[in-house]
Amino acid sequence: MSLLEVEDVHTYYGESHVLEGVSLEVEAGEVVALVGRNGVGKTTTLRSILQLTPPREGDVRYDGESLVGLETHEVADRGVGWIPEDRRVFAHLTVEENVRLSVPPGSDEEAGLETAYEAFPDLREFADREAGTLSGGQQQMLSIARGLVNENDLLLVDEPSEGLAPLIVENVAESLQSVAEDTTLLLVEQNLPLALDLADRFYVVDHGQVVDEGSTEGVTTDDERFERLSA
């Protein structure tokens, strides 16, 4: 049994049919990349897993139990975390407040803060600044830190490198790599070299369906299977 099983999921935004039967599996401990062009349904796949945009058909199982019909916060309680596109830090909360909020109730907030600051020493420096005043890279670090202290077994990571300078992207990649040591990752990434570098396996998504999959072992960015990505 895989940690996450997405089975023939159909999702709509109003009347528009975005996911037309997506199926994929993620094993515990893996890093899996979802690649594909803009607007093919990668982000929607993550939202459907989180029940932010609940699927109309199909099933999402986590640890063998269906998530469909649960509220998003219940999905989060079970250990599925989200590092969304555009970071979505709480701009008017301080860095420290952003982290504190992410520590689940009942866990030690101070320990959570320590974990976050150890992983991202920069954040300690900005602890009292409003998160909205940080640079894009720093916000991305904060967003990852939030996912880190949120005590998840599976993290859904959406476009972590988007809009960041190459040097910062390297930092982000490194921190994701260290997060991946004890967390399973499902990663949406446009930056193909980065995706292949981080992931163990990949799925190619097109027009709301998975059209290809495989191991990243020995696969390069000029593999013919990725041709459709640039089309």
């Binding site: 509220e71 998003t72 969304p84 979505r88 709480f90």
Partner: protein, 322 residues
């Protein structure tokens, strides 16, 4: 020159007293708008219900008790009004507004408008049934003020109504309490996070729906608390029209402050209260002869701020990245 100083003190305190009433009227509204995005038209009606509930407690239990006894009963009355009206708010959110979250916000506004009609008319029926006039202030409730809140106090040569000092103290206390709740407690943190991005908060494990209910109840409770305070003020008093009379200033304060911002609401309340205090003084002195000057100024502030700075004093044009 002591006369001039006394006048300044008198006008300042009366302005601050008005500011604290306006802040009380608007705080709950701004909390609810900040988190839920619902402009609650029933807010004035909830204030009105709070005024009657608090008045009922006072008239029933505190009539005749003087001094400290009356103040203790007032605290009880305020708590009862807050709790009861808060309960009405929770029921509104769970029973009605929750059904409409996935619709355009106009429907939530319309819904609360309908609730206003029902609440006002229910209260009118109750009040008429007990032989009271719905339009006039409830004299018996006004009369439960202890003598030391009723008289005047001499400060720096100025003669200041004790009620105004009481109102300022009450308002400051409530503003500080709400501020402490929002910034110093975990739940306040959750409320602020949910106000910014409820989706992200829920993905971090926050049960946003429950927070919505709690905040709606809290906002309504604050309306009830405002009602309790207004019940003692002869310029307001418990009456059915109190609903629309408090709703409009509350709107002005919330909009002028910047929809849904706590700090902006407090600043706007001070601004509107001081302008009200100063123009009232000018009118009383005969410097201005137009009797509606204070009200006129309040709405001119609304229009002026919306023209010059639509996002309000403390609001930000558009922040956040998605």
């Amino acid at each position: 020159m002591t006369g001039a100083l006394a006048t300044v003190v008198e006008v300042f305190v009366s302005g601050m007293a008005k500011a604290s009433l306006y802040a009380m009227m608007a705080l709950g509204l701004t909390l609810i708008f900040g988190l839920l995005g619902v402009l609650n038209f029933a807010h004035g009606s909830l204030t009105m219900v709070g005024a009657y509930v608090a008045g009922l407690v006072m008239v029933t239990f505190a009539a005749g008790s003087s001094g400290l006894g009356a103040v203790v009963w007032f605290v009880v009355a305020a708590l009862v009004a807050t709790t009861l009206v808060g309960g009405v708010g929770a029921a509104m959110e769970v029973g009605l507004i929750r059904k409409l979250y996935d619709r355009p916000p106009i429907y939530q506004i319309l819904l609360t408008f309908g609730v206003t009609l029902v609440l006002d008319e229910l209260m009118r029926i109750v009040v008429l049934f007990y032989g009271q006039q719905p339009r006039a202030d409830w004299r018996a409730a006004l009369g439960t003020k202890p003598s030391f809140v009723d008289g005047n106090v001499s400060v720096l040569g100025a003669s200041i109504p004790a009620l105004e000092l009481f109102e300022v103290a009450f308002g400051v206390l409530v503003v500080v309490a709400v501020w402490a709740f929002l910034t110093q407690t975990r739940y306040g943190l959750v409320v602020r996070a949910g106000s910014e991005d409820d989706e992200m908060a829920s993905a971090l494990g926050v049960d946003v729906r429950r927070v919505f209910t709690v905040v709606f109840a809290l906002g309504a409770g604050l309306a009830g608390l405002a009602g309790a305070l207004l019940m003692w003020d002869p310029a307001w008093g418990a009456s059915v029209p109190l609903a629309s009379e408090t709703l409009l200033p509350a709107f002005v304060v919330v909009i002028v402050g910047g929809l849904g911002t706590f700090r902006g609401t407090v600043i706007a309340a001070v601004l509107v209260g001081m302008v009200d205090g100063v123009t009232t003084y000018f009118f009383n002195e005969g410097i201005i002869t137009f009797s509606g000057i204070s009200e006129l100024m309040i709405f001119l502030i609304l229009v002026g701020v919306l023209v010059v700075r639509p996002q309000g004093i403390a609001g930000q044009a558009e922040v956040g990245g998605h």
